[in-house]
């Protein structure tokens, strides 16, 4: 498949994630949308990695491998964010019994 398909796919996923973040009210769903964004990036990176491998394999050793390496790091960071984010959401839930982000407006006053 041409690389453009991959770009379009991951951009679509990414945009879905962005729209979710901007429109949803539930903190967990927002959070999942963010994860979706990250995974769209992962997909794109792997696709690009393969693309650069195909074009540069004769010139460079380990061509395109750094893209996959990056994916690993994104996964790790995403995991760390999950850990922290879920803790925060749980903490908030125990205090407010809600995961609705509308309350965030309260801070303004």
């Amino acid at each position: 498949m041409p690389i453009n398909y991959y770009i379009f796919l991951s951009l679509t996923l990414f945009v879905i994630g962005i729209i979710g973040v901007l429109t949803r009210r539930n903190a967990i769903i927002i959070f999942m949308c963010i994860e979706l964004m990250l995974n769209a990036v992962n997909l794109l990176l792997v696709a690009f990695s393969k693309m650069h491998y195909v074009t540069n394999v004769s010139k460079v050793t380990n061509a395109g491998s750094d893209g996959q390496l990056f994916v690993f790091f994104i996964m790790v960071v995403a995991a760390a964010e999950v850990a922290v984010g879920l803790s925060i959401i749980v903490m908030l839930f125990r205090n407010t019994h809600s995961v609705d982000v509308n309350f965030l407006n309260r801070l303004k006053h």
């Binding site: 690389i3 690993f72 996964m75 995991a79 879920l86 803790s87």
Partner: protein, 136 residues
């Protein structure tokens, strides 16, 4: 344009490093979903339908259930889930190493040893913090 997923399936299904090798998995998924969906529908059609209000109550050993079941529960479970996420990702890091470690030799081993040391640091920390103590 780069044809990443070469669609000459016969060739790629047997080529393990190609995305084509997932094709049979897809077939299996379709098969399994179809089968299970079919069974679900069949059982839905076959069984008798005599609903009474008592029957549709949640069942808890004959005791009347109170309130919503989905209330906050022990934080320990969340903690385990969160720790799992962290440690699982660390474990994932070992996989590429395990496959390639002969090539990486001793230098790779020392690097992984350092990684394991950090892993253990975190591990000891959570144990010391009592995150894994279930009797409290």
């Amino acid at each position: 344009m780069f044809h990443l997923l070469q669609t000459n399936v016969t060739q790629t299904v047997s080529d393990a490093s190609s995305a084509g090798s997932y094709f049979p998995v897809g077939i299996q998924l379709l098969f399994v979903v179809g089968m299970i969906g079919f069974l679900m529908v069949v059982t839905h059609l076959l069984g008798p339908k005599r609903h009474t209000s008592d029957k549709l109550q949640t069942f808890s050993s004959g005791i009347e259930s109170h309130g919503d079941a989905r209330q906050p529960m022990a934080i320990k479970y969340f903690l385990v889930a969160i720790l799992f996420v962290l440690f699982d990702v660390e474990v994932i890091f070992f996989y590429p190493y395990a496959v390639n470690f002969r090539g990486l030799g001793w230098s790779g081993f020392w690097a992984v040893l350092m990684f394991v040391a950090f892993f253990l640091c975190g591990f000891i920390y959570i144990i010391k913090k009592g995150a894994l103590d279930w009797e409290d």
